[in-house]
């Protein structure tokens, strides 16, 4: 006699330790095997795009901070790039250098959170705190620069809110010197841990074609083994002046494009960010960081689309101007929003515990998904 079985529906979230915010996943389970995942988003919707239509262009900068709250510098950077393209502003060289330094420091801090929380998702809590110690140092650097630790409002249209603190260059060099051995320690503790590899390798494999078709970008796409980085392939600001590599997933412990690859690409990227910061600090020119800030931002009628490489992927701003001082429409292409769609594809056939693994490996931020 066959046992009567029934599909179980498990609601994961919106209050759940591993959904990285207020995400609700509707899991259809056959025992512990996933048959379907339906993400429900919107619990953190703050009407960013509607707000923008009621504000002037410079007023939008602090709001962009609040989208990907783990990488606000990247968000501001993207917005500034888009607006400068629309206004036709050429910023002083020093501004470009400082922006790159900030964006790369932000990439390090954001990837540290990604790594730490990923470890915590798998059950290793200690690396999480190790990562936060280093992240704290980056936040201190931001604090001496602009006074804020989380939401900076630092990169303005055409310039920056403050010049660098006199100690900044020295402290950043010190940080990088301390950070490299710490990164190795995290690698020893987590990345090459046998249990961690067993949990992440060969789990949630994302082939390149699927990834591109789903619009997956950033470290997740590179984890699939595709060398694609907007900093190199569609350069903006002054990224073409620096020498750095684009790490891609190699399937060291399993198949190319598994969770471990996505995780490890982030580890390698932090090292590359360190290299960029060092080069930028060496070449940092003098100058006035506020000379190009327009008194009144009133672009011509038209629209612009600009994208930057944020820690989570390809962040795009589409801005339509109707010739007034506030935008007619702002649409943000948030990398996590696009990447979330691939979750169902990744999770099918794995276990409940693997949903957590996969969700952690694509490193989402709900502030950006829901905007």
């Amino acid at each position: 006699m066959a046992i009567k079985t029934e599909e179980m529906v498990l609601n994961m979230g919106p209050q759940h330790p591993s959904t990285h915010g207020v995400l609700r996943l509707e899991l259809a389970l056959e025992g512990e095997i996933i048959t379907n995942v339906i993400p429900h988003i919107g619990y953190l919707h703050r009407c960013f795009e509607k707000h923008c239509e009621a504000m002037t262009y410079p007023q939008i900068v602090p709001y962009t901070d609040r989208m990907d709250y783990l990488a606000p510098m990247g968000n501001e950077f993207g917005y500034a790039i888009a607006m400068e393209k629309l206004l036709g502003i050429q910023v002083p060289e020093r501004v470009d250098y400082i922006r790159v330094i900030m964006a790369e420091l932000q990439r390090i801090s954001s990837h540290l959170v990604a790594l730490g929380t990923y470890g915590a998702d798998i059950g290793a809590f200690t690396p999480f705190l190790y990562c936060f110690i280093d992240r704290e140092k980056v936040l201190n650097l931001f604090e001496i620069t602009c006074g804020a630790r989380l939401l900076y409002n630092y990169i303005w249209i055409g310039g920056l809110s403050h010049d660098l603190h006199p100690d900044f260059v020295r402290k950043t060099r010190e940080f990088i010197k301390e950070f490299r051995p710490n990164l190795k320690e995290i690698n020893d503790l987590l990345s090459h841990n046998r249990i961690f590899i067993d949990r992440t390798a060969n789990v949630g494999i994302l082939p390149i074609d699927t990834a591109i078709n789903y619009g997956v970008s950033g470290p997740n796409l590179r984890g699939s083994g595709f060398k694609w980085d907007i900093r190199k392939d569609d350069p903006y600001s002054i990224y073409n002046k620096f020498d750095f590599d684009i790490p891609v997933g190699e399937g060291k412990y399993g198949t190319v494009g598994d969770s471990w690859d996505r995780y490890y690409v982030r580890v390698l990227e932090m090292e590359e960010s360190c290299r960029i910061i060092e080069q930028a600090l060496d070449q940092l020119p003098e100058g006035d960081v506020q000379s190009a800030i327009p008194k009144r931002v009133k672009p011509v009628v038209g629209n612009v689309y600009a994208r930057v490489e944020n820690p989570r992927g390809d962040l795009g701003y589409f801005i339509i101007s109707d010739g007034s001082t506030s935008p007619y429409r702002v649409k943000v292409r948030a990398p996590s929003f696009v990447t979330m769609q691939v979750l169902n594809e990744l999770c099918k056939g794995y276990m409940v515990a693997d949903v957590v693994t996969i969700l952690g490996s694509i490193d989402i931020v709900l502030g950006e998904i829901d905007r």
Partner: protein
Amino acid sequence: MKKAEEIFQLLKDNFPASNLELKTDQPTEAIIIASPLEIDKICFFLHDAPELLFDDLMNLSGVDEPKAGVLTVYYHLGSTKIKHKITLKVSTDRNKPEVSTVTEVWKSADWHEREAYDLLGIIFLNHPDLRRILMPYDWDAGYPLRKDYENPEFYQGMKVPY
């Protein structure tokens, strides 16, 4: 790498019956205007043609233009192989906003189109799962990003303006 003019010419050659238009008076990038019910075929062509290979839908945004009486959808396409970009635009009547879906071409269009439906009320024909996405599923007070949208007084018995 193909310029917008070349891409436009290719499209003209392959879709002689279509009503295509190239707009180059933008401050930044050129825009190709297409018709809303043919956009899926055009996108298939752009995605598959070996000299174009637009495999990356960078962005899809809906815009409300009440003065022209239309809702507009912008498609920002890019190619990861050839590294060129193009912007498409379709406009549809505000009272009967229907656009063909491009989810068949790019899976990433799914949520973008749901968002455009949710916030602007653009109906994407043949979309596999056209539901609200950012707003609550039972939001019945209209589409927030339309320029004439007004907040409702109450939602599910809760007072909305605070």
